[in-house]
Symmetry: C2
Subunit: 146 residues, 2 copies
DNA sequence: GGTGAAAACAATCGGCT
DNA sequence: AGCCGATTGTTTTCACC
């Protein structure tokens, strides 16, 4: 039961376009059984969607950085996520424990764009920033152990 | 030309399982033209693959953290990525500029698992660790502006 | 969870602009 | 070069068991 669902999740994490026929062969179920399991996993929110993995350099976003932010006025209400949500270059926004309040992962084309982005972040969210530039990425987005 | 490729990438980033028929409708091209463009994008490495987006809580990995590591012996050869590559809980490994040498993104089920993971990282790579626990994630994995 | 038929789709080819 | 349209075999879907 749950075992087969985990197997399906692993297969789809590895190849998001795998056909239901192949999923059925791998799991030993019939095509329609696999199909309804996948749909159920989507409806329950376990599978949130499917996406293409793109090469960031190839699409002109060669520079990745982590930006930690800290409010300048600690008494002000913390609505940084809403204030920053509109900035497309921010790929992820994590609220964290520790000295800073959020860690942002950003992707830009150049150091110049990074500078502009940081100014925009500081102005828009009224925060101080601490930036860590990524030099290389041995791996990323590895799928989790199921 | 390149404009249409960017459009295709955007569509596939949004829905990795979109059919070639739908891609053709959206782009105004024929099915076979879209098909050969996608294959070319894959062969050139612009599209690295397709994957399912899973809900980490639902699959029992409720705890995310960033682990910055710094070698204990700065004179030793830096082969941390190879030493850590076998640890499945490490979702990403970035070499970074700054005080620390790598930032790891890890996913585990519990604080207890995090403790074990940190011990494993320290022992296996001979590094000191600094861990920042993620409390919540307003957003993550947003697709880049094309 | 399975089956079977209808509809939709993927993948290839030769020819067209 | 890149695109189209038809063909062929496969995949997805749906109603039903």
């Amino acid at each position: 039961m749950e075992e087969i669902d985990r197997q399906i999740l692993g297969l789809l994490a590895g190849d998001g376009r795998m056909s239901f026929t192949d999923l059925a062969r791998e799991t030993g179920l019939s095509v329609s059984a696999v199909h309804q399991r996948v749909r159920r996993l989507q409806k329950r929110g376990v599978v949130k969607g499917f996406t293409a993995l793109l090469d960031n350099e190839a699409i002109g976003l060669a520079l990745t950085a982590f930006v930690s932010i800290k409010p300048i006025d600690p008494a002000a209400p913390d609505d940084a996520p809403q204030r920053l949500a509109g900035i497309e270059a921010i790929e992820a926004c994590h609220s964290v424990a520790g000295e800073e309040s959020y860690i942002l992962k950003v992707r830009v084309a150049s150091p110049n764009d990074l500078e502009n982005l940081l100014q925009q972040i500081r102005a828009q969210a009224n925060v101080a920033t601490r930036t860590t530039v990524v030099l290389s990425t041995p791996w990323e987005g590895r799928r989790p152990p199921l």
